[in-house]
Amino acid sequence: MENFMINNTMNNANVMQQSTRKSYEPFVGRYDPCKPITVKYYETPPQLYLGFQPPGLEQFPPPEALKRGTLWPALYAPYSNPYETP
């Protein structure tokens, strides 16, 4: 599994290391009728951190870029259901 650690460092040199998934623990009431979800996840994809894209970034080979939906590894942030029980 990915690392879901909360990391809010807004350091440019750190952009590539940003986790694109954050989490928080919602309040659990004593009489909540549904089984509580103890951890909620949300996505924080790379466009939130990149700023104006600098020139000369690394690129995927073209066929791979077509498949992934972006030419830029710096903008590639795949998603999978965080609540799925494996």
């Binding site: 996505e43 466009q47 020139p55 992934r68 939906g69 998603y79």
Partner: protein, 189 residues
Amino acid sequence: MWIYEKKLQYPVRVSTCNPMLARFLIEQYGGADGELSAALRYLNQRYSIPDKVIGLLTDIGTEEFAHLEMIATMVYKLTKDATPEQMKEAGLGDHYANHDNALFYHDAAGNPWTASYIQAKGDPIADLYEDIAAEEKARATYQWIINMSDDPFLNEGLSFLREREIVHSQRFREAVELIKDANSQKKIF
């Protein structure tokens, strides 16, 4: 004008007949944050926005139509040979009564598409901020649909579309930077 290329931007494959999933996916077809709203919003706003970002809106608006076509293909395949009985079971009885298995521009709850989903304020910052928000909302919608979908082929196409939302959001954010800095020197990195 446009030149039409008779192929999808990304190949669409669907593994099973699943009208229920089609019902959820139609949100991205005729919903408030769907591809139709996106295409029409950008291709309309572009007339009254600073010159240096018109091309961006044209390009992204055009690509949204390519996405609309992918969603249409997905919905079509998910429902193509579904019987009236299967449509009913999937909660698409109301849809069937009005449209048979035809596609229509409405959201997952059946609300017809309306132009009030989109805005052209004429203020470049207001319009671009709306566009950024639209991309993030579309990205979130794709996430919620992926969470409900158990079709691995379909999810490949949805993941591609979600990644495009990320790239579009990035470009709109850059457009904001461009018009903010319109009178200053070119940035040197």
